[in-house]
Assembly symmetry: C2
Homo-oligomer: 350 residues x 2
């Protein structure tokens, strides 16, 4: 025991002398075999006893046996693994892991927003140093289970409420969208449309809000018809764009929530014989590598994805070392990268 009188919190406990089954048994007023049963989820323990033991276990951050320290592992959970977007984040996490001699266990949730049933059990049995959840959130129960195992959690672009005190990392989505929209306004565009993602996701919502703010500041009304919500992929965005281009008064510029959607805009424009940027300006978001090689090279908002990965991993390492996070929410800056997909609107169309 140290001299600090601070209340037990996730991440400490592990720092003190070795906590064994015997310790827990003594503190909970039961025998070692009973603690063992609780740990292994075996039947034959009264519910009240089980609860008491679990409480003590949690409070002291018990870690299994000879492997007193956790395994040198970071759990990295992705909503889906379907874009270069994910790859850059992984690279960032890998970089920190390499430095710290940690392994990275990668899990995909196949598009679900929350890890499946067996997941928490697997993670608990691996005893990782911590968990990073990308574009996903754990249920309250899952969070509690991690906390019981003293396993810290960091989210990256969380999808749920800015919930609890879970530390999170993201990019300056609002100001990125604001700058992108201003760029279009400065070129002279007025009929500007936006392709949105799921507005329940904070980062999608922030990008729409940034768009709206720029339009409002410029005194240009946002036309409801020109704002469409759809998945963050190429195909859906192409369909929405095709519909927008068939409007009696089509937009002269589109801002997409990510580069994949912006590619859908390219695709629809090509099929409709609409030239970019002559007839239609397009701005994406992310700055994935292929945007540079698109025809024409895409104007987009750069998100420091790799750095978001290193930042999340570094936060996790700090939490695991028992440090309180400096801030609960870190937002890295975004930059507008102007290439060749944006130009003044066609004359007579402003």
């Amino acid at each position: 025991m140290t001299a600090t009188g601070a209340p037990a919190s996730v991440g400490d406990g592990r720092r003190r002398g070795k906590v064994t089954v015997a310790t827990i048994a003594r503190l909970a007023g039961v025998s070692a075999p009973t603690v063992s049963r609780v740990l292994n989820g075996q039947a034959g323990v009264a519910l009240s006893t089980r609860r008491r033991v679990e409480a003590v276990l949690h409070e002291h951050g018990y870690q299994r046996g000879d492997a007193t320290a956790q395994a040198p592992l970071i759990e990295l959970v992705f909503h889906a693994l379907d874009s270069l977007w994910a790859l850059e984040i992984i690279q960032g996490v890998e970089e920190v892991a390499r430095d710290q001699k940690l392994g990275v266990v990668l899990t995909t949730m196949q598009g679900r927003l929350t890890p499946g049933a067996g997941w928490t059990e697997q993670v608990l049995s691996r005893r990782p140093m911590g968990v990073i959840a990308v574009l996903s959130d754990l249920t309250a129960h899952q969070q509690a289970q991690l906390a019981t195992g003293s396993i810290p959690l960091v989210t990256l672009d969380p999808t749920g409420e800015p919930l609890h005190d879970t530390p999170s990392v993201g990019a300056a989505n609002y100001s990125g969208a604001l700058v992108a929209t201003r760029h279009l306004l400065e070129l002279g565009h007025r009929r500007i449309g936006m392709l949105c993602g799921n507005l329940k996701w904070p980062f999608c919502r922030a990008r729409l809000d940034g768009f709206r703010a720029a339009m409002d500041q410029a005194g240009v009304p946002v036309e409801a018809d020109l704002v469409r919500v759809g998945p963050l992929y190429v195909e859906g965005a192409a369909r929405e764009t095709a519909a927008l281009l068939r409007l009696p008064e089509p937009p002269t510029a589109l801002f997409a929530t990510n580069d994949l959607q912006a590619h859908g805009v390219y695709e629809a424009a090509r099929q409709a014989g609409v030239r970019i940027p002559d007839d239609l300006s397009v701005v994406g978001f992310d700055d994935l590598p292929f945007t540079r090689w698109a025809g024409p090279p895409m104007t987009t908002v750069r998100q420091p994805l790799k750095r978001m990965g290193t930042t999340a991993a570094a936060m996790l390492v700090a939490l695991a070392a028992g440090q309180a996070p400096r801030e609960r929410r870190v937002e890295l800056t975004t930059d507008l990268v102007v290439r060749e997909s944006t130009a003044p609107p066609p004359t007579g169309k402003t």
Copy 2:
């Protein structure tokens, strides 16, 4: 002990009764503490003793203590993590891992061909079910260390010699290249160039050989000037293409070793004012998602990347269960996907 008289091989041993430190000690004619010292790499064991103990350890596929079984983990090692190519393979591995309730530990080697120093130690201490090495190879020593730990290895697109008996998975590179080249020949092209990757890598070599075979069969000479070797990325390929287009007699078609290189061709063509496919036909290899959205959509050879991942993982699971692999080398078929980047050569240029 079972009744089978088969010689011990990687992957068995683990199936029989529990092999403990005591067992090993008895068989090696030493005490348990000595075995323990060897296992933990501690000094103070005579070299000859150490060797003897290691031999017995290896022969019986010793697995640590209470965790008699290995950890439910697949180690997935990548040469680099810089393309959607990697992502699809990861997805395949993840799929099998999910089914088998295994975790996937991902490691990148930052472009090196062989994992760094600490890597084997980390892997050994994690006791994974097996290792998949993608576009990379382990040193002989690393392979021996894995074998000592009874950890099977599968390679995917191996970069070294078709070496040892290490089971490997790949695609039908040779016939894919053959079909792609034939497609260009059938369109009427004669001045066909090829962008190669590092020819020490079997898959790059096979693609060049397939190209050559198709040209030979058609009785069309391969012009040395039109075959260029470079990295498998966009930028270098763009430079090579720019040089090719400046030739007095530029090629009318180019076959690239992968889609990233083919994108480099697009880029160079765009900057030189050369139209695809009117002035120049292009064929890629891989069929990554973005090829569909390129301007124009790219003709390319589809590689079943995800299925390569599932195949490698399934082989590993079988090996870990003590089964001998059905075949040492599995090649999945490739298909030519004809889109809009190929057309007959410009008239007067055949």
